[in-house]
Amino acid sequence: MARTGIPPFERFYESHSGEVLAFLRRRAGRDRADDLFQETFLRALRAYGRLEHGEQLRAWVLTIATNAMVDAARRERPTIGLSVEPAGEAERPPIEELAPLTDDLPPKERAAVVLRYGYDLDYDAIGAALGSNEQAARQAASAGVRRLRKEKEQR
């Protein structure tokens, strides 16, 4: 019952809504951003009661925003082929291109890949967002990329 450090949702929303909207507008365009904004915070609200602690809420909500974008992109282009190279360290494809690519990855690996290469978060923040740590995040991202390469070779 006594979960520590979780602010009332109102405070969380006030602290992060501006940044989330700006993030969504940058990544998904102004038109889509409005709907994604609402979707992001409704998802956050649903999950908020199950949070164990109030740390790294910024990374957490940006992960949710990213997932909402990925899901929307998938709905819009469900049958897209493999049109871009899997991400290497040097090239960072935009989120829309990552979305259909990472569909089949296990959730943790997918989140790590999208946050690393789509959003540029460092592994520390990704670890926090995934509820693990930097090393686990690094492993998940590289496992995800390896899996993508393998899948590509098999096609």
Partner: protein
């Protein structure tokens, strides 16, 4: 707000209220005759009426008592707002709202239920309330219950006065107590 257009902000708040995922929906009524009032409802009913115009501590408390999903959603408070407006205009003498007292200890709840029978325009005493809940020596404890009443105005702790008729105290300040009793015609 932090760079979110009002229309988008309001749309989210309305959707959140409709989602059923909130622990507490609240609003701050800025211009009542007794000053700003924070009012909150849960899925079970009214759970907070607060005089503190700085809601920070209130929000923390609501989050602790009912869960962290506490959001300002004016629309969800429409009914509470209109009943309070009617009361302040002298047109309503009893509230017709479900109340959520689950965060209130058992003894407090018993006293508050007894308090709820004290009618508009009437007063009672701490000692009389103590007697009515079967704890005749507990007048002081009844005072504490009044002081911590989570739903002032609606649960009318302003109607409880000292044995000699003095107003004694009020969680929201004696000025407000006096104003409310004057409104109800309990004092002239």
């Amino acid at each position: 707000m932090t760079g979110v257009p009002t229309i988008l902000d309001e749309r989210f708040r309305a959707a959140a209220a409709a989602s059923g995922d909130l622990d507490v929906a609240y609003d701050v009524l800025d211009d009542t005759p007794v000053g700003p009032l924070l009012v909150g409802i849960s899925d079970r009913g009214l759970c907070r009426v607060g005089f503190d115009p700085e809601p920070e501590a209130e929000l923390e408390r609501l989050a602790r008592q009912f869960g962290p999903r506490v959001l300002r959603t004016p629309k969800a408070l429409d009914r509470v707002r209109s009943e309070l407006d009617e009361y302040f205009a002298g047109r309503r003498h009893a509230f017709d709202l479900d109340l959520d007292l689950r965060a209130t200890p058992e003894f407090h709840r018993r006293v508050l239920e007894e308090l709820n029978r004290v009618e508009y325009g009437h007063t009672t005493t701490y000692g009389a309330l103590a007697l009515q809940v079967g704890a005749p020596r507990a007048a002081r404890a009844v005072g504490t219950v009044m002081n911590r009443n989570p739903l002032p105005i609606v649960l009318p702790c302003h109607r409880v006065v000292g044995a000699n008729g003095s107003l004694t105290g009020y969680g929201g300040g004696l000025d407000r107590k006096e104003w409310l009793l004057r409104l109800e015609g309990a004092i002239l």
